[in-house]
């Protein structure tokens, strides 16, 4: 019948939390096996800033005790998990009294917003063009033009971003080069602010769309060609239905299903691609936060931001997985 059963939901949620738990563990583990540690890094930074720090050994020991770094590892790990459950990542080391959550809280909505817009446009546009490429009734001219639009597909998003900045921000000055909204503007829900957000978001979104829509176009064309050869297409034509109806109800409707699966699979890559783009545009999202933190060796922020990016990705995949049975009636999830 399609639709989601309770058992499926429970299983899928288990996988979701398992993913997050494993990634959280890795995030905790990696800094502990990697050379260098946050506190020496911080003292080193203070040394750089102040020239000399008195009693640095004492300070290091004091902090180690304060952060519980002298406790046995399992105790540290459990305490860490406890903090994560409460979404408490402590304080930024680079901007000390600022809590990590505050930094992430400021950045996350921007990333989610950009991600939603960029992926939605990419997916819809890519699949729409792919469907047109494969459809018999599409005018020739369109079939010649679409591949031209796909030249960006083979280049990395960073290059596309730089190209867009050069042409549309530097040369033509149509769009601002960096930022999420005009400097000095107060975030508010009014036309002026929204306009500014759209203006600042266009180039970042465009560089994501440009490099990835071709992927969907090619995939969709392939799927459409496969569907075209299915027996039910033959019957649909024999029935004398309206060609547009056949296009969306018989062809696109079936061809899109593997594309949705592909979307779930590639979401991780899309998110990490966006992280780079955000950094280039100094877009105040998670990407910029992560890069700044890495440069500052701001371990707590790196930890928190990575964790949220992982949760964001896992959540998107979860949502797609929950939607999928509703669009493909053949999937029922009633095994076991």
């Amino acid at each position: 019948m399609g639709g989601i059963t309770f058992g499926y939901l429970a299983r899928r949620l288990t996988v979701f939390f398992l993913t997050i738990w494993i990634s959280a563990t890795l995030i905790w583990l990696i800094p502990r096996v990697a050379p260098g540690d946050p506190i020496s890094a911080m003292v080193a930074r203070m040394t750089r800033q102040a020239g000399y720090v008195e009693n640095s050994d004492v300070i290091i020991e004091g902090w180690k005790a304060r952060f519980g770094l002298n406790d046995p590892l399992p105790v540290q790990y459990l305490r860490y998990l406890g903090n994560i459950i409460r979404l408490d990542f402590g304080y930024s080391l680079a901007f000390f009294p600022t809590p990590v959550n505050e930094i992430i809280g400021r950045a996350l909505p921007w990333t989610v917003g950009l991600l939603l817009v960029a992926i939605t446009i990419t997916f819809l546009l890519g699949n729409f063009l792919g469907a047109l490429l494969a459809w018999r009734q599409t005018p020739r001219l369109i079939k010649y033009i679409i591949p031209l639009g796909m030249i960006f597909t083979s280049i990395p998003s960073i290059l596309a971003a730089l190209f867009l900045i050069y042409v549309f921000a530097y040369m033509l000055d149509w769009f601002p080069m960096i930022g999420s909204y005009a400097r000095g503007m107060q975030p508010a829900f009014n036309m002026e602010f929204i306009a500014s957000v759209i203006k600042h978001g266009t180039l970042p979104a465009l560089s994501i769309v440009l490099v990835s829509f071709g992927y969907w176009t090619l995939g969709m064309r392939g799927m459409m060609v496969t569907v075209e050869g299915e027996d039910y297409m033959h019957l649909a034509r024999a029935k004398g239905l309206n060609p547009f109806y056949v296009l969306y109800r018989y062809m696109v409707r079936n061809a899109i299903l593997p594309q949705v699966t592909a979307l779930a699979i590639t979401l991780g890559t899309l998110v990490s691609g966006q992280v780079l783009v955000e950094y280039i545009f100094s877009y105040q999202g998670m990407g910029t936060v992560i890069f700044t933190a890495i440069r500052n060796q701001d371990y707590t922020v790196i930890q928190g931001a990575s964790f949220f990016v992982i949760v964001l990705t896992a959540l998107s995949v979860l949502i797609i997985d929950l939607i999928y049975p509703m669009i493909d009636p053949r999937i029922t999830y009633e095994r076991k």
Partner: protein, 342 residues
């Protein structure tokens, strides 16, 4: 006999229809000049081995030949009007109202993402316009009942149905608009024997109730014998014999028809499967002369040069074979028998 045939009115005339598939190594002559009439209310069987062009002929009649295939010539006249060269929107308006199809491989002929009711509904709406939902529902339920399906099928998706049920959904769909002609392309060949009988009976029942003309494609000679009025035997893109079913079974004239009928398995006597020597020719490059010459046990010199024309050896029984010749007085003679070398 001749008179009654004349009195009957042909709804479909196929004249010298040619459908070729373009391949890098030349055209495959899948259907190469077939001729037949389909009379009102009649069921015509189209038999022949796999790959002889039966489905291609059906697509040629339905104007559904898609590349790399093309209609290379001939004429398809539906109630006197030519279908060839009609623009697609004109064709669309007569599709399913005049010409319905029960497709080969009904297993995959239903859209997996649409409920059964929606797939029957869309063809009704496409040709009759929007209707009250309740009326359409009643109508579809009635169609399902006609083919012996329970009402719960209405809300089901194709994957929830068995092969036989899908097949019957296709039959229900085919009769939804009371078409003039139904082409059933091996409507039963993918089913087990029991379900095959049930579906065949459903088909027969529906046919009798509606009085439609039908072209039944298949290779099950036993089933054909029970279902059809006339049989056309096809070999390598050509119709080699066409005859009333009783005549063809009692007295098949073309060597290929004889072979087909001999090969019907029988429980009463076990006979060795007869495999004719020689191979089928390359469909891209048929030999000059008769199409069956490579496998024909009676092949003569003439067969390798001249293609045999259709000859009415008996009223209603037309054979394309050099074995039969018309005497000056109009009587038929079997050349092979006359020469005494059968």
């Amino acid at each position: 006999m001749t008179e009654s045939k004349e009195a009957r009115h042909p709804v479909l005339k196929v004249r010298d229809l040619k459908v070729y598939y373009e391949t890098p190594k030349g055209d495959v002559l899948a259907v190469d000049g077939i001729n037949f009439d389909l009379y009102e209310g009649e069921t015509l069987g189209l038999v022949g081995e796999s790959g002889c062009g039966k489905s291609t002929a059906a697509m040629g009649i339905l104007q559904l030949v898609v590349p790399p295939g093309r209609i290379a010539g001939g004429e398809v006249l539906l109630e006197g009007h030519s279908l060839l060269g009609l623009p697609e929107n004109m064709l669309r308006s007569i599709r399913w109202i005049k010409l319905a199809l029960i497709p080969q491989g009904a297993m995959n002929s239903l859209n997996p993402t649409m409920k059964v009711c929606d797939q029957i509904k869309d063809v009704i709406i496409a040709h009759e316009g929007k209707r009250a939902r309740k009326d359409i529902r009643q109508r579809i339920l009635k169609l399902l009942a006609t083919v012996g399906l329970p009402g719960r099928v209405y809300d089901m998706y194709p994957h929830e149905l068995s092969g036989g049920m899908k097949q019957r959904v296709c039959i229900a769909m085919a009769i939804a608009l009371n078409p003039t002609i139904i082409i059933a392309d091996e409507a039963t060949s993918a089913l087990d024997v029991v379900v095959q009988r049930i579906v065949a009976q459903t088909l027969l029942k529906v046919k009798q109730a509606l009085g439609v003309s039908m072209i039944m494609i298949g290779h099950d000679m036993g089933l054909m014998a029970q279902m059809v009025d006339r049989i056309a035997v096809m070999y390598a893109g050509k119709i080699v014999e066409i005859a009333p079913v009783a005549d063809l079974f009692a007295n098949p004239r073309h060597p290929y028809s004889q072979l087909l009928i001999e090969s019907i398995p029988s429980l009463k006597e076990r006979k060795p499967l007869k495999i004719t020597e020689g191979i089928t020719h390359d469909p891209r490059n048929p030999p000059p002369g008769c199409i069956f010459q490579l496998r024909c046990p009676f092949v003569m010199d003439k067969c390798r040069v001249v293609a045999p024309p259709g000859l009415e050896v008996k009223p209603g029984q037309i054979v394309a074979c050099h074995l039969y010749q018309e005497n000056k007085d109009g009587s038929m003679v079997n050349v092979a028998n006359a020469a005494g070398n059968t």
